[in-house]
Amino acid sequence: MDQPRTPMVFKSPVIDQVGVVERAKRFTSRSIKSEAKMRGLEMVLSMIDLTTLEGMDTEGKVKQLCYKAQHLHDSIEGLPNVAAVCVYPNYVGLAKRSLAGSGIKVASVATAFPSGNSSLEIKLADVSMAVSEGADEIDMVISRGRFHRGDYNFVFDEIAAVKAACGEARLKTILETGELGTLDKVRLASDIAISAGADFIKTSTGKIQPAATMPVTLVMLEAIRDHFQKTGLMVGMKPAGGISKSKLALHYLIMVKETLGDDWLDPKWFRFGASSLANDVLMQIAKQQTGAYQAANYFAID
């Protein structure tokens, strides 16, 4: 064995679950009123990845989603656009054309989403297809089975290979925290993904419950913060699934602000993976402006 002997230098910090839950709860006691609320709601809108990831997706559905992304609620002026539209690879080209000139990014899931159970070749081909169709962002899944077996090098290498295949596209790495079991593992997976080159770490596919929670997201934000403090490099965060109400989304933003700071309050560094959140935010914005809640039927459901 000619391998060089090196000390084991990589160790993820331990996580105290009780402490994390308590801290996460404290963010929800922040009171977000008037101007701060309006500003926060606009930020939430601008950070949404409008998503459709159904087996029954059609071209029509994707077109409708892309239209909605650019016309959230035309009766309110000055609304920001969402950050991105997230689709399967075969709809990337269509989404790209539909969103042309809007500045809205096209994100594509890839790597045998949502299970990730395939060979590396097929996963890379999946990524290449989405990238060649024009995807700006790739949402990959990690191999949770290998992760649970302790095959961390495999998980690391796979993410690094996908990152290389992404080219210019930004890579979001989905940990599928609902399958990881403990916050210690969430932290370890976050550290692996970040060090393997992920531009974003993301909680969930949306296909597994529980999806994003505040404690899980907090642990991931702390991993991002520690990485930034060590290297000066920013990594983005995307909680996905389970965030459908404005109030909860605002609490997430408070958590981002207090954990990572203002620099992350930007669609470039923070996203919500959500489909029904947008309308709740719109409803709240309309209420802030008019003083009255409008019926849900006034907001289009694409």
Binding site: P13, V14, G19, V20, S29, S31, K257, E258
Partner: protein, 482 residues
């Protein structure tokens, strides 16, 4: 105040004050009635966040103390000590429910009068006060079960003197076990924070307690001394400074008065290199900046294992930067006003001492309101065990950080203090926790958390942090003869 120019500032979110009622002047509460003494001596209770006068409080004379003790004695000799436990329990349950029902009013008054953030008075002080009343109400008719094969008997008249840091909560800690065990009470709140005790007196009146069971006299230290030294007081319970605790012990020496004292502290909060570091940072913040550090069990001495010192301090500074200091009534405030000008001067003196002793000084850069009494969250690193800021209780938002290398070393250093009220241990290893907790000379040792309270858990000190326990069964036995 929030830091300005950030990308997303929180708008003010003040809790309303329209729903509270405060009188312009409060008399003393004796024999079930509010009385205004003829002498007319009064002092002002101010809002430490603004300097505004909230109400005028009676400076009791020895005559009022006399009357209060006499009323308590008459109530004790009358129906209260003969009343069945279940009946006593009913009164306490009623009081507990009324505190809950009026919790919003109590929380707002507590924050107005004492300067603590509404988040804490709303989420900690008032609910815990109610929880103590409920807990001891439940014991009132079960004393024989609490102490099997012994015959518990009430002691008589309890003279109780409480501090300004948790005014309502301390009143509940004192009154609940005393009444549950069949004693009667003369209580003196601290002079800067009498209002919630007087509001509690209103509830006691409304709840229909027999007259004289609880009497509340207000004023400064000499009023407390008059209660403690009154010959018809059978039991003294004091929470406050070690200095006054020593005076009390001297003054009651030779009497057969029972006594419990809950005094100062200089708790060691110990973080090992295997701890969950972000959660430990949170615990450090809760340990020292909770209630502006006006906490006898505050984790004011931080011991960090040397290998994680720099990382932990960087994280701690980051977290301190997110603490919002300002209007106690704003729901987003984390650190409120210092309780009084006097306390602020004390804290500022200690900060000067720390700088002169050569410790490295750090404060957050948040804006402070122009009126009132304020102190930014403060940190001293490079502190030595021989520094005054590591030895003396500051009772403010000032943390003294030391490092250590081995378990044996940190145990020695942590116990190297005249105090022994509380301690904290942060490690991922269960075995280490048990090793530490069995060797810390402190009444309460928290593991991987800090400043967590529960009425079922006894609280009290070792060494010069006092003796006797409050809370739990131990808290009952402090008010019983066997």
């Amino acid at each position: 105040m929030t830091r300005k120019n950030s990308k997303w500032d929180l708008s003010p979110a003040p809790e309303g004050t329209g729903h509270i009622s405060l009188k312009e002047h409060y008399g003393v509460f004796i024999n079930g009635e509010f009385q205004t003494p003829d002498h007319g001596n009064r002092f002002q209770s101010i809002n430490p966040a603004t300097g505004e006068v909230l109400a005028e409080i009676t400076e009791s004379s020895s005559q009022e103390v006399e009357q209060a003790v006499a009323a308590a004695r008459a109530a004790y000799d009358g129906e209260w000590s003969k009343m069945g436990g279940r009946e006593r329990g009913k009164y306490l349950y009623r009081l507990a429910r009324m505190v809950q029902e009026r919790s919003r009013e109590f929380a707002v008054i507590e924050s107005l009068d004492g300067g603590k953030p509404i988040r804490e008075s709303r989420d900690v002080d008032v609910p815990l006060a109610a929880a103590h009343l409920f807990y001891y109400a439940g014991w009132a008719d079960k004393l024989n079960y609490a102490f099997p094969n012994r015959i518990p008997r009430a002691i008589g008249v309890a003279g109780q003197v409480i501090p300004w840091n948790f005014p309502l909560l301390m009143a509940a800690w004192k009154i609940a076990p005393a009444l549950a065990t069949g004693n009667t009470v003369v209580l003196k709140p601290a002079e800067t924070t009498s209002l919630t005790a007087l509001k509690l007196a209103e509830l006691i009146q409304e709840a229909g307690f027999p007259p004289g069971v609880v009497n509340i006299v207000t004023g400064h230290g000499d009023v407390g001394a008059a209660i403690v030294n009154h010959e018809d007081v059978d039991k003294v319970a004091f929470t406050g400074s070690t200095e006054v605790g020593k005076l009390i012990q001297k003054s009651i020496a030779g009497t057969n008065k029972r006594c419990t004292l809950e005094l100062g502290g200089k708790a060691a909060n110990i973080v090992f290199d295997d701890a969950a570091i972000d959660q430990a940072v949170e615990g450090i913040v809760n340990g020292i900046y909770f209630n502006q550090g006006h906490v006898c069990c505050a984790g004011s001495r931080l011991f960090v294992q040397e290998s994680i010192h720099d990382e932990l301090i960087e994280k701690l500074k980051h977290r301190m930067g997110t603490l919002i200091v300002g209007d106690p009534l704003d729901k987003n405030t984390d650190v409120g006003a210092i309780n009084s000008q006097q306390q602020l001067s004390t804290i500022e003196q200690y900060i000067e001492v720390g700088k002169q002793e050569g410790a490295e000084f750090y404060q957050t850069d948040c804006d402070l309101p122009s009126d009132g009494f304020w102190c930014r969250p403060t940190l001293f690193t490079d502190v030595a065990q021989s520094n005054r800021i590591a030895q003396e209780e500051i009772f403010g938002p000032v943390l003294a950080v030391q490092t250590f290398r081995t378990v044996a070393e940190v145990i020695k250093k942590a116990n190297n203090t005249p105090y022994g009220l509380s301690a904290g241990v942060w490690t991922d290893k269960g075995s280490k926790i048990f090793n530490m907790t069995s060797q810390m000379k402190a009444g309460v040792v928290w593991a991987n958390t800090y400043n967590l309270f529960d009425p079922t858990s006894p609280f009290g000190g070792f060494k010069e942090s006092g003796f006797g326990r409050e809370g739990g069964l131990h808290g009952l036995s402090a008010y019983l003869d066997f």
